[in-house]
Symmetry: D2
Subunit: 313 residues, 4 copies
């Protein structure tokens, strides 16, 4: 394909821009390809594993994830526990605000504010979360003593009744949310306190491994969209791999492969799963997910909608 002089036309849509990226160069080309791969995985009815780190839920992408679940653009979700907590906080009325990367952290501490990059969360929001979660754990415990994580999250999701909540939309649409390190956050602390009072209360992470394993079969087509790195990315790759590997993969990350980290692992390795047909089935985009993901996904949504392939659009 030739490099083509890019030009703005007034009123340009996101879809038109991303379409032109194919012929611009560097990461813009990879971004345009990511949109193509997403379109392809949806058309081929692949089971889509969407993974993201908790800071994505801290950001405004949370509402987008909920919308995507509603639109059937993800069949399995994997995230870290901070993402669960903050989705709940937002559903129960907490607001986060936009600050600066360079805030004076000592000053923020004195004001009772926590910083996640350039986003700010009040301590108060964590306290309100505690007040909300404790009676919820009572209800769960009443129902049964031993819980797989994704089953617990479904119960919680149903209680939220917030269209913008990813837990609610997932529960409503019967999409499982997996969270392999469920204790690594405030939620973990509350689970611990609860178990102190109720020693027979058990969070069964081993059982949930079976649940994610059987969330797709060997014969089904599978796809991984991994936003950021960490456990959530690794878990989706591991579990699709144990089922024969994914046919499609889109990774978006600011990390680079030169460090040998999971965050920086590219879709090159996806070719080693033996099921990726060729380069048109995978794309790795280097860049901030808050910008890259809406661009690629909106392009895909517009194309799928045009072809009548979008449910509940």
């Amino acid at each position: 394909m030739q490099v083509k002089d890019f030009q703005w036309t007034p009123g340009m849509t996101v879809s038109e821009l991303v379409s032109q990226y194919h012929q611009v160069g560097y990461q813009s080309v990879e971004l345009a390809r990511a949109a193509d791969v997403i379109i392809k995985m949806k058309k081929e009815n692949a089971k889509i594993y969407l993974t993201f780190t908790s800071n994505m839920v801290t950001s405004g992408l949370r509402g987008f994830f909920a919308q995507l679940i509603k639109l059937k653009m993800a069949q399995v979700i994997v995230t870290t526990v901070g993402g669960i907590e903050e989705d709940i906080m937002k559903s129960t009325g907490e607001t986060f605000s936009v600050g600066r990367f360079g805030h004076d952290d000592v000053e923020l501490h004195e004001q009772g504010i926590n910083r996640v990059g350039n986003l700010l969360i009040k301590n108060e929001s964590y306290m309100n979360f505690e007040d909300w979660i404790t009676p919820v754990l009572d209800k769960l415990y009443e129902k049964q003593k031993r819980w797989a994580v994704s089953e617990m999250l479904k119960e919680i999701g149903l209680m939220l009744e917030d269209e913008n909540s990813l837990l609610y939309q997932a529960a409503k649409n019967d999409i499982p949310i997996f969270c392999p390190a469920v204790t690594d956050g405030a939620f973990g602390f509350h689970l611990y306190l609860y178990q102190q009072k109720h020693p027979d209360f058990i969070v069964d992470v081993v059982k949930d491994f079976g649940n994610i394993l059987f969330s797709s079969s060997y014969d089904e087509k599978k796809a991984v969209i991994a936003l950021g790195g960490s456990i959530s990315k690794h878990h989706a790759i591991l579990c699709t791999l144990l089922n024969g590997g994914a046919e499609y993969a889109v990774y978006m990350t600011t990390a680079h492969k030169t460090s040998g980290s999971m965050s920086g692992a590219t879709t090159d390795e996806a070719k080693s799963w033996g099921k990726v047909k060729d380069d048109s089935d995978v794309a790795t985009v280097i860049g901030d997910v808050t910008i890259m993901f809406p661009l690629a996904m909106i392009r895909a949504l517009e194309e799928l909608r045009k072809e009548g392939l979008l449910q509940d659009g």
Copy 2:
């Protein structure tokens, strides 16, 4: 400002998307702010120094730069010599193509192809450039023996007659293009060969320093939009600083400040120039320019157009 759940609406424009980025988080917030700063510098009639590295001209952004010059969105251009060469090549009929970062470079070498990231340039294009530039140097030499770089580039620009050429648009609109390291490329080699035959042919870089210095006055408002790093970024900062410093600055780069490099220097330092009023006058966006720059600039163009502030739109 509060973090707001982002949601896609069908047919969403680039301007609508970037506007929502204000409330998403991380680099999306910085990108939205970059658009605001560009709008502000234009409204305040600042003299805009637009700088970019040559790989930006290799990419499809070249046509966008030409369009921006036409729209009076830049009053001074600073770039590296590769950008000059490739603008000429494209104007004289050469085509570049989109490849892959992971190409086998030995194989490409055997095919006579050069790789710039994931873009490809044929050796042939360089040879055609040589054929084109030699008679041009003759014409320049006939006119005068000693040339400041920007004056030479203006003469060349006028010869191109290509609306998508940044040299042509700059020449036509009387926008100077500065290129402090003019010998660092194929063009330098041809200048050298020419001087061998004509020892009194002189490229006067020192005189051009005066030209860029007087491209703005101490009292004028100044702005720097620096895409990527290198000499081009440094030169614009240096020269505006010698004139009292810029009031506005937008930097876009994949480099980080932790290495102490010019590429990674952020607009924090711009505050030390003493003329930046507050945080709303500067923005640093970390990310690939081919994606980030169209997004921020299109948002600015749409807003300026809406307010009737865009010339020749």
Copy 3:
């Protein structure tokens, strides 16, 4: 402090080099400071939480971690499950090899080889791991049905009897190893298979949250050395924070704070914990851990040894 001209002297030791880094610039200054902070935390008898991602254990740093545990340079370990698996593999005779980042992954797949950055692991090693771990799970199950992760890892460590094993050294020296996402790897799969046959076999991650919480008290001085990002870094920060915050922190990472990720979070935020006295108590080094960590830690070890503060040196 003044910048000082660095000069090589024949036979220069690592400690001499790192000492000179104080006066070189950019990340070398941060690295030298990291060594100072490590010395300080040890002298002040802080409880040191050492965290690393599994790819660090894939690399040759695994033996260094074992040595550091032996030297009482860490009191609590947090890692991801891949690190556990690979420590066991190495102890049971598997060898990993050094390859290239650019390997053809399809070819590697055909050869039954897995790639982690530029390191290679044979499929066979995973199969041998399976053969080893299954009878071990039997022994654990015989002993008790419900296991906190760190307690299980201690039992396993004692079986390894390999001086270079971090699990063995940790078990022998009574240092707990925490692994909040214990199912996210081959080990998780084997736990799952085991639970299928023995439904009353429970891995209690909630109980282990209590264990890490009580691994230090509110009044003890605490320190975090976080290598790479992910869950392991977050978990140590979370748990020391719930105990009042750490007094000392050294982070080494290739990630940058501009993405808002945990991997890129710097020790600036550590100041918000309210216990860090000043800048001399924290250091963030941007760079590859395999290079940065030995440099800083060796400098610290040499200084501590000189002062007779190193146990079992």
Copy 4:
């Protein structure tokens, strides 16, 4: 090669550490390879082009560069003009100091201090540079009116008489220093002011292109050691390429190839020059040069010294 458990031994030298890096993993492997390539290029009597950006001279590496020139470890130098200015400043008594990346830049501005990453330069140093350079330009002008840059820098170097000065050592050892963008700094401003008074004073960058071109022949073996990116890296690559390409290349940079920038270009492309025999002739190390370069170079110096191949050691 196998991954080997790394272990510290008291009194470990830099050379011993780097030697072990071969078997650690990720960038440590690349770093150890970089040392090997440097040893190889020296043993093969390749002409070594050493390039670095000006911030390397701001740092304490400046004295190391001078030492390397003295030890005949570089035959051609390419840098940016800031490096020239700061080498002169340091030779004429100015001192730079170590600060922090996070300094308040407005405050620094009020104190008349300039920040380069975490290094600080007083405005006063620039004023003293002005006082020193003006009579020097008089002397140069008296001698001749038209100067190639490298010839001018040699004259200046001889005036410095400072063993730690890279200009002095280069001049004394007849090593040319090339600086294609000589006007891009305070020096450029002084050249401009001088030319205003003496319009026949000419800095001939075109002639200097010939000088660097003939600094090696087509038949000689050539090597490039590029620290950081920018014009200096590009210029050395361009000029060796015009002479048939280098046989050896070591690049050290914090930039990544995914942006398509010169700073991020890896030695993979060096293979396309047609003269690199195999992977053992090139190495790309991702990381901060202030740490990486001393490590690799010291390892090379120690090995060369051991074999009696180091001149003037």
